[in-house]
């Protein structure tokens, strides 16, 4: 604010709504791999970014659309599977198409799946959405495991890697990190942009009062299905990065564990703002890699489950909610003035 008053024409950064906070974060994210080891760059850094992207798609649906969908990992996994089926894999079981055809087609198929899930699940609302999307996710898992014609059953596909492009091997730690960062930043910006667009505003209004929006002449279910499609696109991007890093995709990629993990990440971070999923992914990945120092590494799921339970019980808005609470508390200088802060 003060900077705007000092300069006669606002800079580009300010017109985009960027504050010093954003610039510091951006600088840290860009400089990070130059300081960190390859393990920290890829297994921690890139992992956080694309898990954050997949959880971001859930945050968009749940936070703005009021639809808690548990099938986002399924959509992401579908994109990963399609990369393997359409593109190149080590067993040459797929179509072996080049990357520039395989990637768009894989994303398109994942988006179609997301739209279909949307069409099926918007018939009912509220708590039913969780049940239906969970049922779809688990059914898809069993389907990939028993189907050999398309999904190669139990073993799935191996040998998946990003293309070598512009003389850069995108599998290397540094390029892969920057690729994940670019996807994460673009998805984040896209979600923010869409949430402020006419469509996003209508979606949020539908979340708050579908009947009134219906009476106002909005096609409620069409908006919801479109939201599923947009979220599916973002999940697909995250899913492709996911299988590129692991080099393989199998039913285990979309088992109930990973499916639930996406929800855990989104809830840990908070679903009020698109930054939440990335904070959740940060905590999740750090816990997963360093649970070994806290408890028996075999018992990671107990640790993450308990963390999840504690967050759900004390702060329904996740870490973001805790942060907001703490900030309100600090500003008002105590509980007594806390409520006044809220009013203002």
């Amino acid at each position: 604010m003060t900077a705007a008053a000092a300069t006669p024409t606002p800079s580009l950064a300010l017109r985009l709504g960027l504050t010093p906070r954003h610039l510091v974060t951006a600088a840290a994210l860009i400089a990070y791999p130059l300081l960190a080891s390859p393990f920290w760059t890829v297994q921690i850094g890139a992992q956080i970014l694309f898990l954050g992207v997949i959880a971001l798609s859930l945050m968009f649906l749940a936070g703005y659309g009021g639809m808690v969908s548990l099938s986002q990992m399924t959509v992401a996994g579908c994109a990963g599977y399609m990369i393997a089926v359409i593109g190149v894999n080590s067993a040459h079981l797929g179509l072996d198409w080049p990357w520039w055809a395989a990637i768009p087609l894989a994303i398109a198929i994942a988006v179609i799946l997301a739209l279909l899930i949307g069409v099926i699940s918007v018939r009912t609302g509220g708590i039913y959405t969780i049940m239906i999307t969970l049922a779809i996710g688990v059914a898809f898992f069993y389907f990939t495991r028993q189907n050999y014609a398309i999904f190669n059953g139990h073993s799935g596909f191996a040998g998946l890697e990003p293309p070598v492009l512009l003389g850069i091997n995108w599998r290397d730690p540094l390029p892969f990190y920057y690729l994940s960062l670019a996807v994460a930043v673009l998805s984040y910006a896209a979600v923010l942009y869409v949430s402020r667009s006419t469509f996003g505003i209508a979606l949020q209004a539908i979340r708050d009062n579908p009947r009134r929006m219906n009476a106002l002449g909005f096609h409620v279910n069409l908006h919801r299905v479109a939201a599923h499609g947009f979220a599916g696109f973002i999940a697909a991007l995250g899913g492709i990065l996911y299988v590129w890093l692991n080099g393989r995709v199998s039913p285990g990629t979309i088992d109930i564990g990973p499916v639930i993990n996406i929800l855990v990440i989104a809830v840990l971070g908070g679903m009020r703002h698109p930054i939440g999923p990335f904070i959740g992914a940060l905590l999740f990945v750090l816990l997963r890699n360093f649970a070994i120092d806290l408890i028996d590494p075999e018992r990671f799921n107990t640790l993450i489950g308990l963390t999840f339970l504690i967050i759900v019980l004390i702060s329904p808005d996740g870490l973001l909610g805790l942060w907001e609470k703490a900030r309100g508390w600090a500003r008002s200088g105590g509980a007594a003035a806390g409520w006044r802060q809220k009013q203002g």
Binding site: V68, L134, N301, V312
Partner: protein, 286 residues
Amino acid sequence: MRLFLLTIMNGFTLAALYFLVASGFTLVFGLMRNVNLAHGSLYLLGAYIGYDAADVTGSWFVGVAAGFLSMAAAGLLLQIGIFRRMEGQELRQTLVTIGISIVLADLMLAIWGGKTYQFETPDWLYGAIRLPLVRAYPIYRLALLGTAIVIGIALWLFLNRTRVGMMIRAGVDDRAMLQASGVNTQRIFAITFALGAGLAGFAGVVGGTALSIAPGEDVRYLLASLVVVIVGGMGSVTGAAIGALLIGLAETIGLAYSPTYGVVYTFLIMVAVLAIRPQGLMGRPA
């Protein structure tokens, strides 16, 4: 012809098992709007505890009782200790059940390991019986079918002919009105939750005997419960029976005739019901 009849028989017995698991799930969901995603974990935990009890005492029936009672107690504890504190917050309750299922699945893996367990049935339930057309069929599976029918009728009588059952049905239809007419709804909730969880534990032992107990079974029965309730409609025991029958038959027929697309049938039934009757076959519009 013989394969077809066998498939149908297997479909019926699988449906019986699904009904036992899903009827508790649907009652809890219908009455409290609590989607208990830890229901599959209760099934598996009941099975493990039942196995240990049967192993120690040497009696299969003690195992069945232990499965039922331990999970009924667990359900009571969950309802009074956790869900009662967040009434009306459906999403939060569901998230809590997810957290519980993650922790339970991991702890069960820690205690009982990744092994597959097999119950020893009492002698008179062991072996096969000669039937016309299908020739031999396991006695135990027929007993399972009979048990499910008896429990189904008992549940129906309990819900339709007793005072508590009447209150539960009233609660499914209009919870606020039930509360306003002076009923201690908390007690009704506790009873229903204990009954639902106990049925899951009971089904764990009974189903674990018919098939086997291993990690991952919790997910299978959770999926079955979800689909049965979506198809049958929430809070309806009759709906659960119809749903279980459809899903059980679809699954076994799929496995027998097109093994690599078996799940698709289950899925298609769910989609078809959602398209025609989003509230489920026996459900009432909200």
